[in-house]
Symmetry: C2
Subunit: 209 residues, 2 copies
Amino acid sequence: MALTDVPEIVVRRLPLYLRALTALAESNHLVTSSQELAARLGISSAQIRKDLSYFGEFGKQGMGYEVPYLRDQLRRILQADRHWSMVLVGAGDLGHAIVNYASFKRWDYEIVAIFDNDPAKIGRKLGGLTIRPADELESAVRELGVQIGIIAVPAAQAQAVAERLIRGGVRAILNYAPVSLNLPSDVRVHSIDPVVGLQSMTYYLNPSS
Amino acid sequence: MALTDVPEIVVRRLPLYLRALTALAESNHLVTSSQELAARLGISSAQIRKDLSYFGEFGKQGMGYEVPYLRDQLRRILQADRHWSMVLVGAGDLGHAIVNYASFKRWDYEIVAIFDNDPAKIGRKLGGLTIRPADELESAVRELGVQIGIIAVPAAQAQAVAERLIRGGVRAILNYAPVSLNLPSDVRVHSIDPVVGLQSMTYYLNPSS
């Protein structure tokens, strides 16, 4: 099946399946079922079966799924079984937290270059890397052949940084800046803004307390 | 309109509208249109108009929206116009980054208590607060009357922590632990796992570079 035939909403759920399967494998579960995954994930078992069926026949009728096998297949499908290089733009508090985020290392995502436009930060070390001037962004991204960029700059600068990353060859952006990016449709963006998450929850909360 | 009549997917988009309107207001834009918002957000103007129509008639035909007015209405609808107290569980690297996250302060989300189960951390100061033993979680949440909990503990502990927060009265959880939580349907969860975001993007990337 061509990559583009799978709905994006399905692709967005696959990492949740992989995460659950990885946890099951780590606790020595050898077999699971769409029902067990459903209970763990809060996604219906029918949805899980349908999502997986885009990629092949992974379970045996009445036998469930072999955990390590399905995990490995999802790792392959998501290209999570290989090393990825990333560049980080923004070496402030948030940038520091991102550099030290343990899950990136565990999953073989490596930050290979860090950029900032603050002369006071340029030349300093962060996570074993020397912070480079933002001027070098496009050329460095191109030289390094990096496809993933992380944006941790103030909102007002994020769109311009994203465009420069893309000109350098980046095709996937993890956006920590609290702003929506307006980018070509062939560039993937995943935005992380905890305030957006909080606001969509406080809508439902009791106003009186 | 009753709160529950609005589809959750609509509620999840409202904070993006609010964020864009706040930026427009800060740059002294007084009027906007669903088309301008659409271009900023990558959401169709028809969708934006439809989403807003759940809550009233905010624009005038052919006149667009008054930016400060629509911003204030969205703040009210999302209850983003008031102070919210939150408790944080987990005082590791991630917990430190969360305490120092500037956007929470800007939007009047205040962490009022921090918990950890590590004796080496308990009693230490973090963000002006003394880290408290995780044993006190339920009673402290109840005493403080807090409805929002932030989970920044390892994946294996997150479900148990969430259940204890809920027993204390929490109704909204911002979950930084890389695991899906299985919670009662009246509890809201927003999960932040950058690896899940990266994996849903690497699916689309060129495998050769």
